[in-house]
Amino acid sequence: MFEWLFNGKKLRENGVLGMNDRNYSVIAKYNKRSLYTLVDDKVKTKRLANSININTPKMIGIIEFQYQVKNLLDIVKGYDTFVIKPAHGSGGKGVLVIKKYDAKHFYSASGDVLSFKDVYQHVSNTLSGLFSLGGKYDVALIEEAVNFSDVFKNFSYHGVPDVRVIVYKGFPAMVMMRLATKESGGRANLHQGAVGVGLDVSTGLPLNAVMHNKPIFEHPDTKANLMDLRVPFWREHLIIGSLAYDMTGLGYLGADIVLDENRGPMMLEVNARPGLAIQIANGKGLKTRLQEIDEKYPLGLSAEERVDFVLNQGK
């Protein structure tokens, strides 16, 4: 029952990165604290991304002060669908996707019918810091909704499937796709019961899939074979991740990317301290991979050259 207590040596041999090691040897070393503000604020991140041609959902407007809340309808004029996001939120907290609205009601993506009052309340809560880290005053970001590509329709239950790329020193190091399930309530958070599928960084092919840390082979709700998962525009996904490094200067980051039917891969957010569950999804230790990049990968390449270097490793 307690044999797992003796796993330490084997985990080390397999190059698994622990939380302490990540914080001490990687994040504290390569992520300067002053850079965090670039990724903590989604408005800032978006502007920065657009300045170097990273595709992101188009910003419709922002609401900064409580008195602006009632202007919501003016701001979204001309858009059928939109998303309200807290600029300082994390893990999808406080994200409200409006599919359509009429004179009386808003209809959310999760199927709720909301009154105007409800939506104003949501924005108001966002401003007062309900969803932000540490409860600080926040800004509500209103952006275009993503037209999710159909290619993942069979692999996700409601919600948004996204690709998480771990980028180390500008090189895509490890990738997984996160698929929402019934249990995760349409969210792509692994600890809430979403499925994580590890993807080979150079080929994009599925390596392994887990749910609640346990290997699975088919999606629990759609029953799709997870090994059949294919991600189109693989190179473009990786380039977004690689560019995120150029954009932020964070040596270790996680870029969350979604696929839009019309506009291709788009970056949703950058995480300065991405979690370690990606190792379980890939069935591989991250430390081995980071060491490989430290020791063998060349310096001074552009984002595209770095991605091509990584892609060539698979050939």
């Binding site: 796993n7 698994v16 939380m19 379980i280």
Partner: protein, 514 residues
């Protein structure tokens, strides 16, 4: 990463070095405090403080009176805490050289009662060997028969065990009722006469010896006659012997009052003089005695700048604070080495602190009830969609009112479980409720209960560490240990090994690659 490893190494090296320094310093401090201040590692250690009262009574004859009493001195093992003389109308002089107290009065008449009171502590048991040179003595002048008996005694002494003097004492004790020895050892004798005989026997071999008057320290003891023992100068120093058993040295809890042939009490200008000794025992904690001990060792300076000289209130506050670093260490270990996630970094620590005051079960039950009630209330309020700050304020005020109601009801109905509510930190309680209710909404009941459970477990572990009487005593009496904790915590800040929970979390990665 290889390059960086060398840098880590030096940080760790420096911290390890500092840790070793801190350990060294703490070790020295502990030694110092135990040795010079008499601190003990055990909270239960007490110091016996003996009070010896000498009541001198006599009848003054109407003229000048001079009373001289032999008193113990601090060369004899015990340390003197205080000396007090109650003698109204008398001039008091202390004769340190001869260890006597001299009281002089003028025109005294009638019954006089004078008091001398001495408080002593720290029995060193064996009186330090006194190597003051003894004067040469002459052999006693004996008749022929006496000489024969004397030789006989010394012959018999060869059959006894021990050093020369012990042998003599044992032989004398054996022969004391033998009529053939009556010239040397008279049959009927007082303890003092017996001692004098022994001195005479030793003098025959030119061994200087003298009487020592001692008192056994025994709660409630009262005596007019101190016990008589013998000191003999042999092998270059004075040694104390028991006259009956010939044992060497002063037994535990005995005090020497006077040495040599001089009288215990001299009263000039009075008659019917008596001195009654009575003994009382009291105990004091080593912390209280530290000042006297430091003074006795001439280490008062360092003591004056320690926290033990502060007023009691400040001391108690510091005593409470001194346990914090250890509690913090427990939290650091629980989080970074074990890897449990808790609500708020130091919430479990503050919870544990509250448990120390309320008692374990009452506190735990009361707190659980408070959290549960708070969560219910918070769930009702969630529907109102209040703004953040007013909402948290609501929870804080609710908790305050809850504490008030529980405390009053608990007090009235005499349920300590309920009334212990008052000891829980309000903000922490409110924060746990708020945090739990948000987690509940966002991540479900299971995750919330898990987080609360881990917070409780960490608090309980911390509680058991800091509620231990020994731990608390040691952390206060030897507070330098907090410096050790400081560097241990810093070193843990460079710990990059797996957390215990990660061993389980990453278990799937083991079967994969092999």
């Amino acid at each position: 990463m290889k390059l960086n490893l060398t840098r880590f190494f030096t940080i760790r090296k420096v911290l390890s070095l500092l840790l070793i320094c801190a350990v060294g310093y703490a070790a020295y401090s502990i030694y110092y405090k135990v040795k010079y201040w008499g601190f003990s590692l055990s909270p239960k250690a007490v110091t016996d403080v003996w009070t010896v009262d000498a009541k001198i009574s006599f009848r003054a004859l109407g003229g000048d009176v001079k009373v001289s009493l032999a008193v113990p001195n601090d060369r004899d093992g015990f340390k003197i805490l205080s000396e007090e003389i109650v003698a109204k109308g008398y001039k008091i002089t202390q004769d340190k050289i001869n260890s006597r107290v001299v009281l002089e009065g003028k025109d005294k008449e009638g019954k006089q009662n004078l008091y001398y009171r001495l408080s002593i502590y720290d029995d060193a048991q064996n009186v330090a060997l006194n190597s003051l040179l003894a004067a040469k003595i002459d052999r006693p002048i004996l008749s022929e028969e006496e000489t024969i008996q004397m030789r006989k005694i010394w012959e018999l002494s060869e059959l006894q065990k021990g050093d020369k003097i012990q042998k003599a004492i044992l032989a004398i004790n054996q022969e004391v009722n033998n009529p053939t020895m009556s010239l040397i050892l008279p049959l009927n004798h007082t303890a003092k006469e017996f001692a004098e005989k022994v001195i005479q026997v030793l003098a025959y071999k030119r061994i200087p010896a003298r009487i020592a008057r001692t008192i056994k320290l025994e709660e409630g003891r009262k005596t007019e006659k101190p016990d008589i023992m013998l000191e003999a100068y042999y092998d270059g120093h004075w040694t104390l012997y028991d006259l009956n058993t010939a044992k060497i040295g002063l037994p535990k809890n005995w005090v020497i009052i006077q040495r040599g042939g001089v009288s215990l009490l001299d009263v000039k200008g009075g008659e019917d003089s008596t001195v009654v000794f009575s003994v009382l025992k009291s105990v004091a904690s080593p912390l209280k005695m530290a000042e006297h001990r430091a003074k006795a060792h001439d280490e008062l300076w360092s003591y004056n700048y320690s926290m033990y000289t502060l007023p009691v209130f400040e001391q108690n506050t510091l005593k409470w604070l001194m346990i914090f670093p250890l509690a913090i260490l427990v939290v650091v270990i629980m989080r970074n080495v074990i890897g449990v996630s808790t609500m708020g970094t130091f919430t479990p620590m503050l919870l544990a602190m509250a448990l120390v005051r309320t008692g374990f079960w009452p506190g735990l039950i009361c707190f659980s009830v408070m959290i549960a009630l708070g969560l219910v209330m918070r769930a009702l309020v969630a529907k109102l969609n209040l703004l953040l700050v007013p909402r948290i304020s609501f929870v804080v005020i609710f908790v305050i009112l809850l504490i008030q109601v529980l405390t009053v009801v608990g007090y009235r109905l005499n349920y300590t479980i309920v009334s212990s509510a008052i000891f829980f930190p309000i903000i922490i309680t409110a924060w746990i409720i708020e945090r739990a209710s948000i987690t509940w909404e966002e991540e479900g009941a299971v995750n919330t209960l898990k987080e609360i459970l881990f917070t409780f477990i960490t608090a309980v572990v911390t509680y058991f560490v800091i509620s231990n009487e020994y731990v608390r005593h040691v952390m206060f009496a030897f507070n330098e240990l907090n410096l050790v904790i400081l560097f241990v915590v810093m070193l843990l800040g460079t710990y990059t090994g797996y957390r215990v929970t990660e061993l389980m979390r990453f278990a799937p990665l083991i079967h994969k690659e092999n």
